[in-house]
């Protein structure tokens, strides 16, 4: 059920521009599905507005499109078809619920995997989270949460090391508008994100989330783990995006995400007009 709620929760985050996205952390149950009970009734759940249901549909369509051709995909297509029908009949809560089910079918919950290593002298413990829901590490009455890929080393009798500080984004400046020539597929790029170094960090996790796009469904969030302090994004559709970066240290764990920054991608309108004119001349 939690997996089924992931999509709704992600959309809940994306609907609040100031809320940083959290990678790999299980979200709380969103209000959109509370009370709907999954019974297929047409009761309108709080927050199940057309826009929310539409976003769920878009996400599920994209997930189905990207899924391999197998039984799971066919089952998801069935749920998606139900969702589309509910949406057409303005049963938005049911549309959201079915779209969630389709998405969850293609994104099943993962097992929890983690490693604990105790040094030969017994005095050092290294905990590494590998997959699935986060784990907690307790030492000296302090607790840390480890998400996927994070690691922490604890010396006996000492407190948990402080996580690294959040990286500071450098480029582009907040709300910068890029005007770029579209590629053959209509996508825009390249855009390079950069941030300041954080002491003790060996990796940086960057997440880019689309807030609005000019045409087509919202693209899925783009995430990348790098050991550099800049990242050239893949080409993206025209629209508005926000991004955050998180520092990861092998001994200290993971920082909180940086303050979110936004940028806009716009097609070079002049180039577009010339092409139209050429077309007329032909």
């Amino acid at each position: 059920m939690k997996a089924a709620l992931w999509l709704s929760a992600w959309m809940g985050l994306s609907a609040v521009p100031s809320a940083p996205a959290v990678v790999g952390r299980e979200p709380a149950e969103p209000p959109a599905l509370r009370g709907s009970g999954g019974s297929g009734t047409a009761t309108k759940a709080p927050g199940a507005e057309p826009q929310t249901a539409l976003k769920a549909l878009e996400m599920s369509r994209a997930a189905v499109k990207a899924a391999p051709e197998d039984a799971r995909r066919r089952e998801a297509e069935g749920r998606l078809k139900d969702a589309e029908a509910h949406f057409q009949q303005a049963r938005y809560a049911d549309a959201l619920h079915k779209a969630d089910e389709a998405w969850a079918l293609l994104n099943p919950p993962q097992p929890s995997l983690f490693t604990v290593e105790v040094g030969k002298d017994g005095g050092t413990t290294t905990v590494t989270h590998r997959q699935g829901p986060p784990v907690t590490v307790e030492a000296q009455h302090a607790t840390r949460i480890l998400a996927r890929g994070e690691s922490v080393r604890v010396q006996q009798g000492t407190v948990l090391p402080e996580p690294p500080s959040a990286p500071q984004p450098v480029q582009p400046t907040d709300k910068y508008r890029f005007t770029l020539k579209p590629s053959a597929g209509g996508l825009l790029g390249p855009v390079t994100l950069s941030w300041a170094a954080v002491e003790g960090a060996t990796r940086y996790e960057v997440e880019v989330i689309a807030e609005t796009v000019e045409a087509g469904p919202l693209p899925l969030p783009v995430r990348e783990v790098l050991d550099a302090r800049k990242w050239a994004l893949p080409a993206l559709p025209a629209g508005r995006y926000r991004w955050t970066v998180t520092a990861v240290s092998p001994g200290q764990g993971r920082s909180v995400p940086s303050p979110a920054r936004r940028f806009e991608l716009a097609a070079d309108a002049l180039e577009l007009n010339i092409k139209v004119k050429d077309g007329w001349q032909k």
């Binding site: 939690k2 952390r25 919950p109 097992p111 929890s112 995997l113 983690f114 490693t115 604990v116 290593e117 105790v118 030969k120 017994g122 005095g123 050092t124 413990t125 905990v127 699935g132 829901p133 986060p134 784990v135 907690t136 590490v137 307790e138 030492a139 949460i145 604890v154 010396q155 006996q156 009798g157 000492t158 948990l160």
Partner: protein, 152 residues
């Protein structure tokens, strides 16, 4: 002031009153110590053993060779030699894979942990973290995974 010479008869009266009715000199009183103890419930089982894996029972002094499907009880210990490995499967299905040169202890069920790692490396797996839980304790930290985790 209490007269000390009056205590021996008083103690005798108290002792006689404590004897169960119908108890003769040849019978032992049936106390709670004679109630049959419930059989111990294994906390886990050993599986997928490779190489030299040994076990020491909580009540034993010696290490002995371990074997597959051996039940593990509170305070039992398992150790692997270099190059060996073993899997500890807990009753709820969560598993702890022991690498070589490791030493772990099965925790008492009353404690808020399942296994104590004293040396070496373990890889823990919860196939269904929504319904399973696992706590691993070391000399310096406790790691908790699964349904018991609550975010603050």
């Amino acid at each position: 002031m209490v007269n000390g010479r009056r205590w021996p008869p008083l103690l005798l009266v108290v002792a006689l009153a404590a004897l169960p009715p119908g108890c003769t000199a040849d019978e032992k009183p049936r106390g709670p110590t004679e109630a049959p103890l419930p059989p111990p419930v294994p906390r886990a089982h050993l599986r997928d053993l490779t190489g030299d894996v040994q076990i020491k029972r909580a009540i034993a002094d010696e290490w002995s060779a371990a074997r597959n499907e051996l039940p593990l009880y509170e305070n039992d210990k398992v150790r692997t030699e270099s190059g060996a490995s073993a899997q500890v499967v807990f009753a709820n299905g969560s598993t702890v894979h022991l690498g070589g040169d490791s030493l772990v202890g099965i925790a008492e069920s009353k404690l808020r942990t399942d296994v104590t790692v004293l040396r070496g490396r373990v890889d823990a797996t919860l196939e269904k973290p929504a319904t399973q839980s696992l706590s691993v304790t070391t000399p310096s930290a406790t790691v908790r995974a699964g349904r018991k985790i609550e975010f603050q």
